[in-house]
């Protein structure tokens, strides 16, 4: 149970960190200053959420290690968990690690993800675990703005020019195969949901789909048709695309090269 809770917390932390880090790549590259700043702020919210989850995960990891009485294991901190684990240990959803692509693809990614996070945090704020519910309650307020901002962009681009419509639809179609993983629970999620400390993600699929379909309709875009054979998964248990390796290489290089350095 303790291991499942740790894995669950790391999964949530990794989601927020990898998503936040990816979005931060737009810093200085946004199509206009205001939107550059918007994405930077959203990335900052996500990295902040990740810190809260990692701090709690570090507490859990250290308790587990005490139990094993293994003095060889170093003390975990939020930084060791973020900077010193390898791709295979990361439990983030595959959609969070995908390349930003063009503006439409980034918007599409945040639209799917923040729409999911909104329902997820709403449920997690009712968790029997006080630490998780507190982080969820806090994060939900931030995600409310991410969801609204990305939905408005989907509508603006979908119902915009011929080119913006085409590119927005392409972006929606391209990332669709990543959305199934959101609702397929890993073993640790099933255990945590059964104990009422985690969320039953399978129950969120219909309500999420209804939201997404509603916005796409308003944007005059079509909701992709499910392709049974093509549903990406694996991120939750550490099977990632090669995109994550490059992301971690950049994000972790300083701590790898100069362990424990501070400035």
């Amino acid at each position: 149970m303790r291991q499942a809770l740790l894995d669950y917390t790391l999964h949530l932390a990794d989601n927020a960190l990898v998503m936040g880090h990816r979005l931060s790549e737009w810093t200085g590259h946004g199509p206009m200053l205001e939107q550059d700043i918007a994405l930077t702020n959203i990335a900052l919210d996500l990295v902040g959420q990740a810190r809260n989850f990692y701090q709690y995960a570090a507490e859990l990891a250290n308790k587990l290690n005490d139990q094993k009485r293994n003095s060889e294991i170093n003390v975990a901190t939020e930084d060791t968990l973020a900077y010193l684990r390898d791709a295979r240990d990361f439990k983030n959803l595959l959609i969070t690690e995908t390349h930003n692509g063009d503006w439409g693809q980034t918007i599409s990614k945040l639209f799917f993800f923040s729409g999911f996070q909104w329902h997820f945090y709403t449920e997690l704020s009712k968790s029997d675990n006080d630490s998780l519910s507190a982080i969820a309650e806090k994060s939900l307020k931030e995600v409310t703005y991410h969801r609204r901002w990305s939905s408005e962009w989907v509508i603006r681009l979908g119902d915009g020019t011929a080119e913006s419509k085409e590119r927005m639809q392409l972006a929606i179609d391209k990332l669709w195969s990543y959305t199934f993983e959101l609702f397929q629970p890993a073993q640790y999620e099933i255990i945590c949901a059964d104990l009422r400390i985690g969320v039953d993600v399978t129950a969120l699929q219909q309500i999420w789909l209804a939201d997404i379909t509603g916005v796409l309709k308003e944007a005059k875009l079509s909701t992709p048709v499910d392709q049974e054979n093509f549903k990406r998964k694996g991120g939750k248990t550490g099977y990632h695309s090669e995109e994550l390796g490059f992301l971690l290489a950049e994000m972790q290089c300083l701590q790898r090269a100069y362990p424990g350095c501070e400035w």
Binding site: N52, S133, E137, K138
Partner: protein
């Protein structure tokens, strides 16, 4: 020789903290911002409970440090600063004094209340400079995560709006 600890009271701590300001909006104190949740005096140890505004707000680390410095400058050495996430911070906790300070500083204070969700509607935000309500939203996210960017259609100045949260 070290000077003996001052007698610690809630009022004394409150008085000190009313002079600790947000590093990014240096006209509003941690009390008026609603970041300070509680002061508990336990056997002459001050426990100061604070809550972050946004999860990723970089000002929080600085605020924690500044509270420590302010207390130590007044000779208070026995204190703990405790960070608490729940209940989550809301702009509803910004005091009237805080709202006036924001306005005078050129930042439009939050309109509407979070508890009744009225902030999710389209709000009329008045320009903090000319008070015109003929304004337009430029971006949901402004110079910091807690602010949105607006423009006044009358005096044409862009301005920050402290958004409801």
């Amino acid at each position: 020789m070290q000077s003996p600890n001052k007698h610690i009271t809630t009022e004394l701590i409150q008085d000190i903290l009313s002079n600790v300001f947000d590093p990014e909006i240096p006209v509003i104190s941690v009390i008026d911002l609603g970041v300070l949740r509680r002061i508990e005096i336990d056997d002459q140890v001050a426990n100061i409970v604070i809550t972050p505004t946004y999860s990723g707000c970089p000002a929080m680390d600085v605020i924690t440090m500044q509270i420590g410095i302010a207390l130590e400058n007044k000779g208070i050495k026995n204190y703990n600063i405790v960070r608490q996430l729940s209940p989550a911070w809301t702009t509803d906790w910004i005091t009237e004094k805080g709202r006036q300070a924001l306005l005078a500083y050129g930042i439009a204070p939050p309109q509407g209340k979070v508890f009744d969700k009225s902030y999710l509607e389209n709000l009329r935000v008045s320009c903090p400079l000319c008070r015109s309500s003929n304004t337009a939203l430029l971006s949901e996210f402004g110079s910091t995560a807690c602010k949105a960017l607006y423009r006044c259609n009358d005096c044409l100045e862009p301005f920050d709006y402290f958004k409801c949260h």
